[in-house]
């Protein structure tokens, strides 16, 4: 295994080949600070057609990045939504032009806490401004401008991607012809905040973290970050799904070891996921992005609440939830549907029955993928007709 310093060097080298734009326009953040001349990394798949009516914007989740499908050039692993996006897939890149940007606050090329602070030429660390979902979305709107796309055929995203999407629709009501928020919420619940706090405290309890100053020492608080990831992984599965996948099965052994090694498969799984994660993600980014999620409360931004947020929407929505998702429950997703309905928006809703929990949107769930495909394809026909008229 390469040393962490070597790893960072390797990652930085790969980063040179990432598509980026520099956003010159100053972006006033919700926290009051302003950033300007900052990088936004993105990736596109498929081709934008002549009429520019086949563009689909994908918003990624907490630990995602712009590499939606194909092979992620930094990790050499499959893109995070390879099940849904690609040639012939539900979001067919032979037909549609798919765009995804790394969120600001992230660590895959967009402005984030591991970047250099121009004020002191040191890595930002905790001097990085606290960002919100709205800040992320505003930055990505600049990318659409850069790509010359006036109106998207569709915008979609699951989990935090869905929250960005709701924010995007509320802030820019005419930018998307259709929208598919998946397994998300219009505001973070107490349980969501508690789980994020657990992840943050795990990172902060790691002495290597050192108040976020680890970056200049070329190290990473990997123990804390791994635990943070483990918390996440538990919340992405369901009780039933986990029991079916692991049960009490032992990890390559016939009996208990009477030690604290990973006896159980579920322990081994969590350790593997946790420590694989530290190789591709920055601990401070987790702090900043989880904070952005916690601060997300769309109804708080509008007097009159969520119904007001979706007023004057021409966007056609399809909200999708998963029956066993306890992180962003069917009820939370339905509340979005109710608000959209009350505001008179065009909204469809489907609850996919599955044991796979919150993770379902990333997995090969045939009913989910069929519904997604059916919606996007029918929207494309409508959008083309509307443009013609």
């Amino acid at each position: 295994m390469p040393s962490l310093a070597g790893l960072f060097f390797w990652m930085n080298r790969k980063f040179e080949n990432i598509n980026k734009i520099t956003i010159n326009k100053p972006l006033k953040l919700d926290c009051g600070k302003t950033v300007k001349n900052f990088p936004l990394a993105y990736e596109t798949y498929g081709k934008l057609n002549e009429n520019k009516d086949n563009a689909i914007l994908v918003f990624h989740a907490l630990t995602g990045d712009q590499f939606v499908t194909g092979t992620n050039p930094v990790t050499n692993k499959d893109g995070w939504w390879v099940t849904a996006v690609g040639p012939g897939k539900a979001i067919d890149t032979d037909k549609y032009f798919v765009i995804c940007a790394n969120v600001i606050g992230g660590c895959m090329g967009s402005l984030g806490p591991k970047d250099t602070n121009p004020e002191n030429n040191q890595p930002y660390g905790l001097d990085f401004p606290v960002i919100t979902i709205k800040d992320m979305v505003k930055a990505q709107e600049s990318l659409l401008e850069h790509l010359g796309i006036k109106k998207l055929l569709c915008a979609t995203g699951g989990s935090m991607g869905g929250m960005q999407l709701l924010q995007f629709c509320a802030t820019f009501p005419d930018k998307a012809f259709s929208a598919v928020p998946i397994a998300c919420s219009s505001s973070h619940s107490a349980q969501n905040i508690a789980l994020n706090e657990l992840a943050r405290q795990a990172i902060m309890a790691d002495p290597v973290w050192d108040n976020g100053k680890y970056v200049s020492k070329n190290v990473q608080p990997k123990n804390g970050l791994a635990v943070a990831r483990m918390v996440g992984h538990i919340s992405y599965l369901s009780e039933k799904g986990m029991q079916e996948k692991f049960g009490r099965k032992l990890q390559e052994k016939a009996d208990y070891e009477f030690s604290f090694n990973a006896d159980f498969q579920v322990e081994s799984y969590l350790r593997h996921q946790g420590y694989a994660f530290v190789e591709r993600f920055d601990a401070n980014s987790i702090l900043y992005i989880t904070r952005a999620m916690d601060y997300f409360d769309l109804s708080k931004q509008f007097k009159g609440g969520l119904v007001e947020a979706f007023k004057n929407q021409n966007t056609k929505f399809l909200v999708i939830s998963f029956s066993s998702d306890w992180l962003y429950t069917t009820k939370e997703n339905k509340d979005i549907v109710i608000a959209l309905n009350a505001s008179g928006a065009d909204v469809s809703y489907s609850e996919i029955v599955t044991d796979k929990g919150h993770d379902s949107f990333l997995l090969n769930e045939p009913e989910f993928l069929k519904t997604l495909k059916g919606f996007i394809d029918s929207m494309y026909e409508k959008f083309k007709n509307e443009k013609r008229i």
Binding site: N341, A342, V347, S348, Y349, E367, T371, F375, S378
Partner: protein, 197 residues
């Protein structure tokens, strides 16, 4: 039943806003959209049907009309349509009141248990009737509260629900039903379509 669609479409003005409760695979929604340029929304319980509607580009919400009508605001639709499902609810009265709250008017169609073939089956054979409009047997029927056109007529009277129009559908004929011809129409109509509210 295409005839039923035609009657419902004739009751609806062009360009109105309609909620189809229990919209199935969206056939009626599609028909209304194409015939009368009606802005339709559907509510449907069955996953497969929901998917069919979505594939057709029809807005549909997956949910149970018995428990989830509360999500639609008061008077948010010009019309609410309930096609041949009233009898399948646990509490049809509650559902009907909800529909009247959501729509400025409501169209309800029911398979008529007073239809002569149904009566004959029960009276002379002593068996629960199985017909085209009532295709299930007693043990697998979803219908919990069968009623006749006359029953629904009386129900509306009792509950002070304004009946605007009632249309009876027999083989391929439709006819207006009034208090004066109720007895005879209740015998010869397979289906009753009520415009109320």
């Amino acid at each position: 039943m295409k005839k039923e669609f035609k009657v419902i479409a004739d009751l609806l003005p062009n360009n109105s806003r309609v909620l189809d409760v229990g919209c199935g695979d969206g056939s009626l929604m599609n028909f209304l959209k194409e015939e009368k340029n009606i802005e339709v929304r559907g509510l449907e319980l069955n996953q497969e049907n929901v998917q069919k509607c979505i594939n057709k580009g029809l807005p549909v919400i997956q949910g149970n009309a018995e428990t989830e009508l509360h999500q639609f605001p008061n008077q948010s639709f010009d019309y609410v349509v309930l096609s041949q499902t009233l009898q399948a609810f646990y509490e049809p009265e509650k559902v009907l009141k909800n529909l009247l709250r959501i729509g400025k008017a409501v169209i309800v169609s029911i398979p008529n248990f007073g239809y002569w073939k149904v009566r004959v089956k029960l009276l002379f054979f002593g068996e629960m009737p199985v017909t085209k409009t009532l295709p299930n047997t007693w043990y697998n029927t979803p219908n919990l509260h069968m009623c006749t056109i006359k029953d629904l007529f009386n129900f509306c009277d009792e509950k002070n629900i304004n009946i605007k129009k009632v249309v009876g559908v027999s083989e391929d004929k439709t006819s207006l039903i009034k208090k004066s011809n109720l007895e005879i129409k209740n015998l010869f109509s397979k289906l009753g379509i009520f415009l109320i509210g």
